[in-house]
Structure formats: C-alpha cells, structure tokens
C-alpha cells in the first residue's frame, strides 16, 4: 500500500487512527470526575501534539538517521513562523500559502546553514548549528525588529494589506482560516458526562502530520535513507568506497529543516503570532529531548516523545499542593506530609525538573527511548517477537 511494506503500512494506519480519534482517546475521564484535569482533549494541546510531532519527526530524520546532533533546529521553526505570519499579513488570511512559504523559507535557511555547518561533524557540527541558531535568535530579537517584531513578536494586524482578500479597515482582525473555515473553529459533542471537542485546526495539523509521517516512512526505507544510515555507521568507509556524502547530508539537513518550517507555519496558522524566543536554543533543546525520549532512529519514537513531553508539560504544570494533598489524603498525616514534600518540587512549576530527571534516566538506562522501553516490557511478558519485525528499526545507538 502506498509503496510501503506491510509493517510500515501498519504503523501509518496506527498513527492515522490515533490522530483521527485523538479527541476521544485523550478525553477518557468524565468531566465531573476529579481526574478530568488529566484530560488532554482540548484543541490547543492537541494541535501542539501534532505540530511538535512534525517537528520531532523532522529532527529524527537528521539525528536518527545520520547521527548528526543539531542544536539549532529551532531556528528553522522560527524562520518558518515569521515567513508564514508575513504571508498572512501580506497575501491572504488563508493558511495554505503561509504553510507552503514557511516550509520553503525554512528549506532555504537550512540550505544556507547546512552548506557551512556540514563541513564539520561531531561536536563541531553541534556547536556550529548552535552558533547559527543563537545568531538568528539574537538578530531577530534586536536588529531585525522591523521584520520580526523584536521582543514583542510579530502578529497580524487590522490594517495589513492582505492583497488577495482586500484590506479591511473595520471590524475584527480576521483569524487564520482554511478557505473560510477558521482554524479555531470547534465543534463540541457531549456524550453523557463526557465532552469531546473537535477542532478544525487540529484536523488540519493531523493531516499534515500524517503526510509528514508518511514521507518519513518512505525516507527511512528508501535507498537515500539507507545511505544516511551508512553515514551514521561509518562515514569514512563510505568515503573510501567513493561515495561523496556531502550532497546526501545536505539534502537530509534541508528536509529536516523543512519539517521544522512546516511545524512553524502550522503553529502560526493556529495562532498568528511569532516570537523570537521560538528560536532560542532551549527550544532546540526541547526537540532533542523529545526525540531522545521517544527513541532516536525509530519511526514512531519521535511522535511518542513529542506527545509525551507536551502532555506531561501540561498536566504536571496543573498539579498543585492541594491536589497532591488530596491524592495522599488516605495516608496517616505524617506520611502524607512526607510524600507531599518529596513530590512537590517535581510538579507545578517544577515540571522541568521532572523532565530533566526523566531525560537523564532515559539516556542512562534506556538509550533507545520509550520505544526500546516498550520492547523490553514486551519481552518481559514473554511475547517474543520474531526477528524480522525488528530489522525495520535502525540501531538506536548514535554513531560518533
């Protein structure tokens, strides 16, 4: 099907099911129950799942396949965001041109940075990409203010030209739409005590992510992908056999950058605002965390990692001291206090602490990420998979 082997097609089908039924799957708890705060089925969060999923899939094409660790990927996301806001401002409020342009601009940006950065590998490559991203961030926040809006960020305004739509001087600022269907449009379906929310923007992101996932499946199984894996395993040997790796690396880097640009464009399509902090190196670090946590070099890992981090970021930030006290209220008082005191630093504002600890644990004990964890648990329960199911995955250990 679609040029995929059986296993990949199954994976694609699995992701498609997840995406279509996400509003149900993420809302398992009834509204009135105390667990309702763990529901994640609201539009904003679901959009972020899909968008960061795309970002992580793109990063994984670079890091997972070739082992080149880029610490400046957020620059492409930021460049894409700015480009698409400008499209919304200048051309039309329809998001399609914005998304296309954001992908292209990020691609060009990645090409320029890639030409320079890919002259080196290893830690030098990481530092070079980091340097470029930090430069982009610093410039966007200061000198390029006319283009980027500086510290306050760039957003659509009432008196933008919008050539195709015709300028409107009165009324509200139009919100981004897909041929008239606003991306913020939602439809709610109450079923008993449950309330399911369907959002136009989310489904647009979901379709994009499905396409992105499909492309990544094809890249992983293509001869091009095989060559990238060979670069990761041993670049020298490849050079000795007479293969020039530079064009392949560059193509891979640009594709990866375009994914980030697409994610940026979608982000703007959901909320027409772009700020410089999107380019900061902490944002680049976040996507690294997602991919590693999910499992670098695996197909489904980045998607899982992105969903995992975004979900727990939201949920953990909501837990406060009284919620914790509620949980441990069944315990005797002293014990309750002890547990609350121990756990409190990890929730609420301390989410990053949890993330850091979790990330370290994954890197130390589970270099293959969640995917490897799932496999190990699977083995533990004696469900031995046949050998051929595992050959589709690349070796999770990154090369030097």
């Amino acid at each position: 099907m679609l040029g995929l082997n059986k296993k990949d097609a199954g994976l694609l089908f699995f992701v498609a099911i997840l995406l279509v039924f996400a509003p149900f799957l993420l809302n398992p708890f009834p509204e009135s129950s105390s667990l309702a705060q763990f529901n994640a089925g609201y539009p904003d969060l679901m959009q972020r799942f899909a968008i960061f999923g795309i970002f992580a899939i793109g990063f994984n094409i670079l890091f997972g396949l070739t082992g080149y660790l880029s610490f400046g990927h957020a620059a492409f996301l930021g460049a894409g965001s700015y480009a698409s806001v400008w499209m919304l401002k200048l051309l039309t409020i329809n998001v399609i041109p914005a998304i296309i342009i954001s992908t292209l601009v990020a691609g060009v940006f990645a090409l320029l940075i890639g030409i320079v950065s890919l002259r080196r590998s290893g830690i030098y490559f990481s530092i070079l990409t980091l340097a470029f991203a930090q430069m982009a961030f610093a410039l966007a926040a200061s000198v390029l203010t006319p283009i980027t809006g500086g510290e306050t960020g760039l957003q659509t305004a009432l008196n933008d030209p919008r050539i195709l739509d015709g300028a409107n001087e009165t009324g509200n600022i139009p919100s981004p739409s897909l041929f008239g269907l606003e991306t913020g449009a939602t439809w709610q379906m109450p079923v008993g005590d449950w309330l399911f929310t369907f959002n136009a923007g989310y489904y647009m992101c979901a379709v994009m992510m499905l396409i992105a996932f499909y492309v990544s499946l094809r890249i992983f199984s293509s001869p091009f992908g095989l060559l990238l894996k060979a670069i990761k395993t041993n670049q020298n040997r490849l050079n000795y056999t007479g293969v020039s790796t530079r064009p392949y690396m560059l193509a891979c880097f640009v594709i990866s950058g375009m994914y980030a640009g697409l994610a940026g464009g979608l982000m703007v399509s959901m909320d027409p605002l772009a700020g410089a902090e999107r380019m900061q190196w902490t944002a680049s670090g976040e996507v690294v965390l997602m991919v590693i946590l999910g499992g670098a070099g695996t197909l489904i890992g980045p998607v899982l990692g992105a969903g995992f981090i975004k979900y727990f970021e939201n949920i953990f930030s909501k837990i406060n001291k009284s919620v914790l006290e509620g949980w441990f209220s069944f315990m005797p008082e002293g014990l309750q206090d002890i547990f609350v005191t121990i756990l409190y630093p990890f929730v609420g504002k301390g989410w990053h602490l949890t993330l850091g600890v979790l990330f370290m644990l994954v890197v130390i004990f589970l270099p293959g990420g969640l995917v490897e964890g799932g496999k190990r648990i699977g083995k533990l329960f004696g469900r031995r998979k046949s050998k051929d199911t595992e050959t589709g995955e690349t070796n999770p250990a990154p090369a030097e």
Binding site: F132, L139, M360
Partner: protein, 345 residues
C-alpha cells in the same frame, strides 16, 4: 586611544569568566574525553555558594528583651534580629565579615565544588566514557537542567544581589593612572579584582599542571592514557580529582562574578553556550587555547558593542562571538591552538 583601552578593559572581565569556564571545560575534555554540558551549571552553583554564604552569615536571633520595632507609629511585628556574627564578634567585626562575604565564599565554595565535581564524576560521568559523545552531551545537558531547576526551587527565579565588599564598590580613574586625561577611562574596582583573580586562578592551574608530580601524571595521562595505566599509575583517580578541580574553577568563577551580575538560576546556561564556542575556537583540548580564546572573544565582544561599530553594523555586538567561531572553525578547523588528533572528524 582611550576608547581602545577602555574596550579592552571592558572585555577583560567577561573574557575572564569565559576563560575560567572554558579552562574547566577543556580540562575535563582533555583528561576524561567528556563533553560536559553541565559546566555552566557548575558556574551557577558557584555563584549560589555566595548566596548561601551570605544567607548563613546573616542568620540572626532575637535578643532577649527586644521590643517590636515601630517606626512612626507603624508596628513592624517582629523584633529586630541581631546576626550571630555581630553578637559573637562585636558589631564592627560582624559587619565587616558580612561585608566581605563574597571573597569569604571562596573558602566555602572550594570544598563544596570539589565535592560536587567528584560526586558528579563518580556517580554519573564515569559510566559515559565508552558511550558516544552525543550521549555525553545529552546526559550532561539533562544534568544541567536538573541542577538549574533544583536551584530555582530553593532560591526562586529572581536575581539575588550579592554586593562586593564596601572597599571595592565604585570606580576609579584608570586613565589618570596610565598618564591619560583624567576622566577618560573610569573603571569599576571589582572588575579589576575579577580580572586579577582570574589570572591568579589560571596561573595556579598551569603551575599546578606544570610543576607538580600530580600535574605531570595528569598531563601524561592526557597524552597517552594507556601507557600511564600500564606503568601502574591509577589514572582514573587522578582524573576524578581533576574533574573536581575543574568544577571548583568554574565555581570560583561564579563566586567572584556575583557582584558583577546578580546570580539567577539560568546564568549558567547563558555562559555555557558561549563557553563552548570559546573552547572550540581555542581548540578542543588545548588549555592555553581556551584561555586565549576566552580573553580574545571577551574583548572582541566589547569592541563590537562600541557605539561607532553598532552604527556601522547594527546588531553586530549580539553575534560577533558566533561569527568569529564560524569563521575560525571553517578556516582553522582545529581552532586557534588545537592539537592534531583531538576530536578529529
């Protein structure tokens, strides 16, 4: 002319911080071959040693019979606390100790940072020697996040001021001292103190490596670990100690930096990115290279911040370090003083 001198001076204090952090990074890389992304967090921990010492010194108690304070009819509730130090040593001596809390923190920071460094190496980094550099970067990056968040939890997200001793507050006229017009170059005292301090630490490090047996073994180990091991020397233990020392150097840089820039929990990350650039520019694994590049980039940054330069090339002050790094990496792949065979592609 005075502009040039002024910018060089301005670059020195930042350059000193870069040089100190980069020195530690290079030591760790040269000895253990580990790329330590948590080094900025060590700098930050050092700065928070100062904050801790400051708080300890200001601990007080309520003297018996003290009445509640009231100013102009307003009642402030609790009675005034008397710091223990003032109680023990008398008012003048007690206040002097509190006043000198930043330099005093050095005494506190050295053992603490050594301990943290050794624990870090034994507890975590040790298990990553055989793993790829990407894994080392990732795990130390995670550690940096954890350390940063712990500090944020206990000390809050705001900057905490830690003033320099009274004697070093203010500026002096450097121009007049070197025979230029009075008032041309005004320079804060503490920055000179910081620069001199950095020079002392750096020279001490180099002397330690150059003239002690311990340093000799460490240098031998850096050059050829296997041979030194075969000769029956426990290189691992010495490298662990070197990791502690590198952590202490970063910590001391942080301690003394507090009066220049009030510490907050993410200061380490801000310095780390630049320090990595410094290390790479200086040449991976080259100690003199790291120090040289630290000062050079610090001075370069301050020159780029001159008004004339900014008018000519807007925004250059923000990016000059990265630009320099890109140019140097592309023209001199090993950095300024890099050795062959270290982290070669």
């Amino acid at each position: 002319m005075d502009q040039i001198v002024l910018q060089i001076l301005n670059g020195l204090d930042k350059g000193s911080a870069y040089a100190l952090i980069a020195l530690g990074l290079t030591l760790i890389f040269g000895t253990l071959g580990v790329v330590n992304f948590a080094h900025g967090a060590l700098f930050m921990l050092g700065a928070f040693c100062t904050v801790t010492v400051n708080r300890i010194l200001n601990l007080g108690f309520v003297p018996e019979g003290a009445t509640t304070q009231s100013v102009g009819g307003f009642n402030f509730g609790s009675p005034k606390e008397t710091p223990y130090l003032e109680h023990w040593f008398g008012e003048a001596a007690g206040q002097a100790i509190v006043d000198w809390s930043v330099p005093l923190s050095i005494l506190f920071a050295i053992p603490v940072m050594l301990l943290i460094g050794v624990i870090m190496e034994r507890g975590l980094i040790k298990h990553f020697y055989k793993r790829p550099h990407a894994d080392q970067i990732l795990v130390t990056f995670g550690l940096a996040i954890v350390l940063q968040e712990i500090i944020k939890y206990y000390y809050g997200a705001n900057q905490i001021p830690a003033p320099a001793p009274e004697a070093f507050v203010g500026s002096f006229d450097f121009g007049a001292m070197i025979g230029m017009d009075a008032g041309a170059i005004i320079y804060p005292y503490w920055r000179i103190v910081y620069f001199v301090f950095a020079l002392i630490v750096i020279s001490a490090m180099f002397a330690f490596l150059r003239y002690t047996t311990f340093g000799m073994v460490v240098r031998a180990g850096m050059a050829d670990r296997e041979t030194v091991t075969i000769l029956g020397i426990n290189v691992d233990r010495r490298f662990t100690i070197m990791f502690g020392i590198a952590a202490a150097v970063a910590g001391l840089a942080g301690v003394m930096y507090t009066p220049i820039n009030s510490p907050n929990y993410h200061m380490g990350m801000d310095f780390l990115v630049i320090s990595f650039v410094v290390v790479v520019v200086g040449g991976m694994g080259s100690l003199p290279g790291a120090v040289l590049a630290g000062f050079l980039l610090g001075i370069l940054e301050s020159f780029a911040s001159m008004r004339e330069v900014i008018e000519f090339l807007p925004g250059v002050n923000q990016v000059v370090i990265y630009l320099a790094a890109i140019v140097i990496l592309l023209t001199r792949p090993r950095g300024l003083m890099g050795r062959a065979g270290v982290m070669e592609d």
